[in-house]
């Protein structure tokens, strides 16, 4: 324990972080909660000294908003698909990376690259891959491209699909988002799971081998349970990140949150919050608190479920 005589020193060393957190995290949170309960809040009137009545009006208007269920649905859908898929893929890749020796370091670096790349930049590259160019009248027909992804499908005899261009459908858009989000989420998960794998005692595998355990059984009965604390961590942080999905959609569709001609088709909770800030800060604050509550509940459920299946 820190000697009480030296406690002030501890506080002194912590103070820069604490002060910054108070200004940029704690105070905004308090403010958000306040704003969420102020009805018809307007910053100009607030500066003029107007007092606002307190109530649940902002929450009601968020919940009664026409697109609320759709944007919540999109957010949940992206979470529910991308988190399991990316976790399983990451586990598979981590196990593979762990079992090969040749070029091991090099491949680890390759798989980690997306993590240090800007997500908007990645989004633009993905948009290019799915983009159809050349359906603009008057464009030289030799420049027509269905996009790399459609070209790839063409090899298998599948007709080009309108993924993200004008008039593209909801499920096509979701597919593109899933591919992009999973790809973007992999490096961090691989890194965490690979680290956990490398710290597993090799003797467990030797013991399993002597006992004639099949590879699949070794994986499910030994590897997965031994990694379960880290899998839990990756899943929970994945869900939290998933509920805050926004920049990935901006990266591909721009801040219209949808394909040309149909803005808002892929609106998410965070997208809605950013949109509302411009018009009604009370409503944006209420939406933020609703999102917080949803994440809290989902995380608690996650913890409850994983507690049963996690070995520490």
């Amino acid at each position: 324990m820190v000697n009480s005589k030296h406690k002030w020193k501890a506080w002194l060393y912590l103070s820069p972080a604490i002060i910054l957190l108070l200004i940029f995290t704690v105070w905004p949170i308090i403010n958000t909660v306040q704003l969420a309960f102020m009805e018809n809040y307007d910053i100009m009137q607030a500066l003029g000294g107007k007092k606002f009545t307190l109530g649940f009006g902002n929450f009601v208007s968020v919940l009664q908003y026409d697109g609320f269920l759709q944007m919540l649905g999109t957010t949940v859908l992206l979470c529910v698909i991308t988190v399991p898929v990316s976790t399983m893929l990451a586990l598979l890749i981590a196990v593979c990376l762990n079992s090969i020796k040749f070029l091991n370091r090099f491949l680890q670096t390759i798989f980690f690259l997306p993590y240090v790349t800007n997500s908007i930049a990645i989004g633009m590259v993905f948009a290019a891959m799915f983009n159809i160019i050349g359906n603009v009248p008057g464009l030289d027909s030799s420049l027509v491209s269905w996009g790399i992804f459609n070209d790839l499908l063409g090899v298998f005899g599948i007709k080009p699909i309108n993924w993200i261009n004008m008039g593209s459908g909801y499920w096509e858009n979701i597919f593109v988002m899933v591919v992009y989000i999973v790809w973007n989420a992999l490096p961090f998960k691989i890194l965490i799971l690979l680290g956990a794998l490398q710290s597993v005692n090799k003797q467990y595998y030797d013991a399993a081998k002597v006992d004639g355990t099949s590879r699949a059984r070794t994986f499910w009965r030994i590897t997965v349970p031994l990694l379960s604390p880290m899998i839990t961590y990756v899943v929970i942080t994945g869900f939290i990140g998933g509920f805050k999905e926004y920049s990935s959609i901006v990266g591909i569709f721009g801040d219209t949150m949808g394909p040309p001609g149909n803005p808002g088709q892929l609106q998410t909770m965070v997208g809605f919050i950013y949109d509302s800030i411009k018009k009604n800060q009370g409503k944006a604050s209420a939406a933020a608190i609703i999102l917080f509550a949803i994440i809290l509940v989902v995380t608690l459920i996650n913890l409850k479920v994983s507690k049963k299946n996690t070995h520490y």
Partner: protein, 366 residues
């Protein structure tokens, strides 16, 4: 099941790519382990004893030679097809499974005609648990067990599939001194009851001597001597084996044979009929000394340690290769502790002569 090792060799490639230096972990090991016996592989660390064990288990492939179980050549068989039970030094119990699940695990792997019903598996698991006396602990996790209990679970897990050969890697090294004594008796009892051919690896000579039917002493990958513990102790083939066995360790001197008499320093200490004149190493077991004021060997007395039943006399001599010479004598002997020197007579069968170059034993005809 007898286990035959024929010219068994393991060579590890050099770690450093630039040098061609290879490590010969096990060199030309030949041994027929008789059915149903308990064999101790003994040697200092890096002598190849664990490598030998892992080659028998199938986890490591030999670089040369053959391994036979009975008449069946298992050299190229993978571990799961050999029917071996292996107990690891750190037990390697699956931490996320209960004791019961750990013991059941090998049985659940059985496929085809070997597959068992759930009831059969449970019965077998409880049998194995009873044998090692942990049937009360079946629902616990390994982290809730003591070291000795974990050890027993590991043995039960190895025994449950009724292996043809049981292999134990340093089975007692993680236990405290008292538990070690208890557990080694336990291993002996279990081996006697199951009659499974058992090979265990240890660096502790006392452990190997106390429970093995036969011991194999190894040094730098080469087998030095194989035999019953008492035979190896009484008739070491070379200086290494003599030094490795026995607590306290053997006392080694530089000596000389002149006219069939062994000299240490200027003193003629023992008749050695049939030995040609030469310089030798002399090994004298601590129990090979008899207190005798007219004895031919004079040592400089250092201290006397009373151990109850026995007395340990610590002394030194300029020709001794060990800094402290230990002699164990009966506590009834009266020792003048203030004396500067002490005289001993030697028991001829506790004195061994070794060639100074080869360190091989020179047999004295008696």
């Amino acid at each position: 099941m007898k286990v035959v090792l024929e010219n068994l060799t393991k060579i590890f490639p050099s770690r450093n790519k630039k040098s061609d230096e290879q490590v010969v972990a096990v060199n030309n090991f030949n041994f027929e382990i008789p059915d149903g016996k308990l064999i101790g592989l003994l040697g200092p660390s890096g002598c190849g004893k664990s490598t030998t064990l892992y080659m028998i288990s199938g986890l490591q492939a030999p670089s040369g030679g053959k391994i036979l179980f009975g008449d069946e050549d298992v050299t190229d068989l993978s571990p799961e097809h050999r029917g071996v039970g292996l107990v690891f030094q750190n037990y390697a119990l699956y931490p996320h499974m209960t004791v019961k699940q750990n013991i059941l695990f090998p049985l659940e792997n059985l496929k085809g005609e070997d597959a068992m019903s759930k009831a059969e598996r449970l019965e077998r698991a409880y049998q194995a648990a009873k044998l090692v006396q942990i049937d009360e602990l079946m629902e616990r996790k390994p982290s809730e067990l003591s070291g000795g209990q974990q050890q027993r679970v590991a043995i039960a897990r190895a025994l449950v599939k009724m292996p043809r050969v049981l292999l134990l890697d340093e089975p007692l090294s993680n236990l405290d001194a008292r538990l070690r004594l208890q557990t080694r008796e336990e291993i002996r009892r279990i081996q006697r009851e199951t009659k499974i051919t058992t090979v265990f690896v240890t660096h502790d000579q006392e452990e190997a001597m106390s429970i093995s039917d036969m011991i194999v002493v190894m040094k730098l990958g080469v087998v030095q001597q194989i035999g019953a513990p008492q035979d190896v102790y009484d008739n070491p083939v070379n200086l290494f084996v003599a030094k490795f066995l026995g607590t306290p360790p053997i006392n080694v001197f530089e000596g000389k044979v002149v006219g069939e008499k062994l000299h240490i320093g200027a003193q003629a200490v023992l008749d050695v009929p049939g030995v040609a004149d030469q310089e030798v190493f002399v090994g004298i077991r601590p129990e090979g000394f008899i207190l005798d004021s007219n004895g031919p060997l004079t040592l400089n007395l250092n201290s006397v340690e009373v151990m109850g039943r026995d007395v340990s006399v610590v002394s030194w001599h300029t020709d001794a290769l060990v800094p402290a010479i230990r002699s164990i004598i009966d506590a009834d002997n009266k020792i003048d502790r203030d004396s500067e020197t002490i005289n001993f007579k030697l028991k001829p069968h506790k004195v061994f002569l070794f060639n100074k170059e080869t360190e091989e034993r020179i047999v004295v005809e008696r």
